[in-house]
């Protein structure tokens, strides 16, 4: 297996800033698990899935130090946050659609149990329940989709609040990506400067071959 760059021992050199000697190379895999706080997971969420996602992100980012490791964790945490919020939005919308459907059917299907079964069937996407509900609703001159639309209109404030939270998480994720770019740019500039210095040092001054007058 090819060694990662972070595993390659660096030459011992005095730090320009503080005069400290260079630290020993990090074994980031072990230190990540040991020193960072545990992943933020809700009850019943799969830790293995989290670490699989983290593994993929780390492969893509190829973190060079602990700060970049922290950013990798951020990317996973914020992505999961967005997933959870989107699921919440979908769950809320489904709940409210069913509530509106129940309200719409109340004067038509008076038997409470029969109505609850019908609404449950639509919620579970049972084709026969859907067909029955559609037929009942169409007889009144309306459509099943319209009921969903009314639910959205009524609950738009809640949906917007969730959307705002999603936007904030996405914005933070973008900031992290920009920070990674920024740091890599600085590193690339430093490499360019170093290479320039090396080239300068290697260039020998050639004496003018022409005889001096």
């Amino acid at each position: 297996m090819a060694a990662r760059k972070s595993d390659i021992p660096r030459p011992k050199a005095k730090s320009r800033r503080t005069g400290r000697s260079s630290p020993p190379p990090l074994n980031l895999d072990e230190e990540l698990l040991e020193f960072l706080p545990p992943p933020p997971l809700g009850l019943g969420e799969d830790e293995l899935l989290y670490h699989r996602m983290l593994g993929r992100v780390r492969t893509a980012v190829d973190p060079k130090d602990m700060v970049e490791e922290i950013w990798c964790r951020d990317l996973v945490d914020l992505t999961l946050d967005c997933f959870r919020l989107r699921r919440l939005k979908a769950g809320w919308f489904r709940l409210m659609s069913m509530k509106h459907l129940d309200g719409f059917l109340e004067p038509i299907v008076e038997d409470k149990e029969q109505r609850a079964d019908l609404v449950d069937g639509v919620a579970k996407e049972d084709p026969s329940a859907e067909a029955k509900a559609k037929a009942i609703i169409r007889a009144t001159g309306s459509e099943l989709d319209l009921i969903g639309t009314f639910a959205l209109v009524d609950e738009i404030e809640f949906v917007e609040r969730i959307d705002r939270l999603i936007m904030q998480s996405e914005a933070r994720r973008n900031i992290v990506l920009r920070e990674i770019d920024r740091r890599r740019d600085v590193a690339a500039r430093r490499v360019r400067e170093t290479l320039g210095d090396i080239e300068d040092a290697m260039v020998e001054e050639v004496a003018d071959p022409r005889p001096s007058k």
Binding site: P40, G42, M66, V67, D74, D81, R183
Partner: protein, 141 residues
């Protein structure tokens, strides 16, 4: 400039609205700061301070200045606990949203409000960490 009688009246009125009066109200507001414990500084909680100290040591081995490493570690621990709180709240909200309850609306609205409250803690910790990392990069340059 406000007139003296108005200032006097404001001060007199302000004395009439200085928080809850009943014992129950007083004990409730006394617990305001520890409702979700996200406002408690990392340094005041032994377990969190231990995690932050260990992270500081690790960050220092990544060529970070001790002061910046401590700032980054503290902000990171803050971020982690805010995100844990958010994940727990979202798990509760998702559990309610997938159950068929008679009236899940109020419970979900309350959970959403709690989620929104965690936002400012995350924003502050995130910003503190970003500044500390950038400051360190500037020192490094």
């Amino acid at each position: 400039m406000r007139s003296t009688p108005r200032v006097t009246a404001n001060r007199r009125n302000a004395k009439m609205s200085t928080g809850p009066r009943s014992q129950d109200g007083k004990s409730r507001v006394a617990r305001n700061a520890i409702r979700h414990s996200l406002a408690v500084p990392v340094a005041n909680v032994y377990e969190l301070r231990t995690v932050a100290d260990r992270l500081t040591t690790t960050l220092m081995s990544s060529r970070l200045e001790p002061e910046q490493a401590a700032r980054i570690a503290e902000a990171q621990v803050d971020l982690s606990r805010v995100r844990q709180a958010r994940a727990t709240l979202l798990a509760q909200a998702l559990a309610i949203a997938t159950r068929r309850e008679a009236n899940p609306g109020p419970a979900l609205v309350n959970l959403l409000r709690d989620l929104e409250r965690t936002e400012r803690y995350e924003r502050r910790a995130f910003s503190r960490r970003k500044s500390a990392i950038r400051l360190n990069a500037l020192i490094d340059e």
